[in-house]
Amino acid sequence: MSTEPVIQVEKVTKWFGDVVAVSEISFTLGLGVTALLGPNGAGKSTMLRLLCGLTRPSQGTVRVLGEKPHDNPGLYRRIGLVPQQEAMFESMSGRRFVELAATLHGLPSPREAAERALGVVELDPNDKRPVRAYSKGMRQRVKVAQAIVHDPEVVVLDEPLEGLDPRQRLHLINLFRRLGDEGRCVLVSSHVLDEVERFGSRVLVLSNGRMAAEGDFHDIRELMDDRPHRVRVRTDRPHDLAGALLTSRSVMGARVEGDEIVVVDTVDASALRLAVAPAAKAAKAHLFEVVPLDDDLESVFRYLVGR
């Protein structure tokens, strides 16, 4: 595989009025699948729009295949985009929609190209229904088909798995990996951590418009698992339980709140899970509830940004 960067982003900042959507972001991408991970509002869609030339950076430079993408129709022959928005040309059939893309790309046989692309995403090219009658999953696959109909070198997909059932997700994930293996640069955005794990090994993590982490997925996953966790334990003897928990090596600190709550900080959530019940037994305390307070993706990203 070539190591030449296909996408180069250098100190890119984009603001809309007073709102900074992405700030000082730099990265390069080569061939293969890269996941762009981040919570909603992190700046993922803005980043993808910058890469496709749908908007210009306020500062910094974006280069795709060596060219600036904004107002560069010649480059659009080499880029395919699955946008996030729902709207499509609703009265068209899926085949007509993809054929339109093929025609505008100047392909010699738009109909055949459309049928081929629809076949790749497992849709029936002879389905005459308008796309407004399609299920969410079918619509997503039509959007993928129009993005790959012209066999682009760069494929950019904005949350393409949203609304799909597990079988459809698996199929599209395999398709993205295949596109990457065939020598394309594929960038897929998602806000679902477990989903990203299946795309491939390279990940860019965005949070609050900044690059929170970048690199191999497994390294980042490890980093996420190693971060401090906070767990709330509800018990009838909070002081005794807190004392017992503090003897565990996995516990960094414990704080009693009110008559029933102990908030525990740990660097090893798994070890804490194993330590809670013995500690409760030792303290002769009843456990009513054990709840992680920061296990959501947002807090993971906050940690990565604040690291």
Binding site: C52, L54, D71, P73, G74, A87, M88, S91, L100, L104
Partner: protein
């Protein structure tokens, strides 16, 4: 470009929209018929006034506004413009195809009812010819202008209506300087000259009356192309 043209055409020509706009044209037909049936009306004078005040001041700009502001404005607002924008297509082709599609739908909706209305007044063949020519020129001028407006600003309808009422209907009639910048004034001149009807206070020559609105439409297509080059796409 023909693919884009057909796409815009099919997006615009929904049955509800066309019927609604035709109903506006029918208003002119009813008024034309009433003038024709009246014993006291002067068919040529009253017919020309009706076409100028109802057709060229209201029906032509409003119908063209509804259609032209939607042709790129709707895909821009609902996000489908990206499926046209992110293709190796020159921006002037997008702008021209969109404007042409809007004109294709607007022209018959404006010209046919008003020509029928002019005929029903009994003002003669010259009034009908003048009506058709003036309306067609008005649609071309407004078509380019409102296509640009639909792309340039969200909720283009109220702004377009404000332009029609305030600029075309009020400010542009304040004096020779402003009338020369009014599509309506030029098309009324064309109507008056061709129909040989009553002359307005301000009149352009025949060639100016034709050229200025058409030129305005062409310049607006250029600005629409520029806008497509420069703007952000959702």
């Amino acid at each position: 470009m023909s693919t884009l043209y057909r796409l815009f055409l099919s997006n615009l020509a929904s049955r509800g929209r066309v019927v609604g706009l035709l109903a506006l044209g029918m208003l002119a037909v009813v008024v034309g018929w009433a003038i024709g049936m009246s014993d006291t009306a002067d068919p040529l004078d009253d017919g020309t006034t009706m076409v100028a005040n109802l057709g060229l001041a209201l029906i032509a700009p409003v119908v063209t506004l509804v259609l032209s502001s939607a042709v790129l404005g709707d895909p821009n607002e609902d996000g489908t413009l990206v499926y046209l924008w992110l293709r190796p297509v020159a921006r002037w082709q997008l702008a021209t195809a969109a404007t042409a599609a809007a004109l294709t739908v607007a022209l018959p909706i404006v010209v046919v009812p008003l020509a029928i209305a002019a005929a029903l007044t009994g003002g003669g063949g010259e009034l009908v010819t003048g009506t058709m020519a003036a309306c067609a020129i008005a649609v071309v001028g407004y078509g380019g202008l409102f296509t640009w407006l639909g792309l340039r600003i969200k909720r283009a309808m109220p702004w377009g209506l404000a332009y029609i009422l305030v600029w075309e209907g009020f400010i542009a009639r304040a004096g020779d300087g402003t009338e020369a910048l009014s599509i309506r004034s030029h098309t009324v001149s064309v109507l008056s000259r061709l129909a040989d009807g009553p002359r307005s206070m301000w009149e352009s020559t025949m060639s100016t009356g034709v050229l200025v609105p058409v030129l305005a439409g062409l310049v607006a297509i250029y600005f629409t192309s520029r806008r497509l080059q420069l703007q952000d796409v959702a």
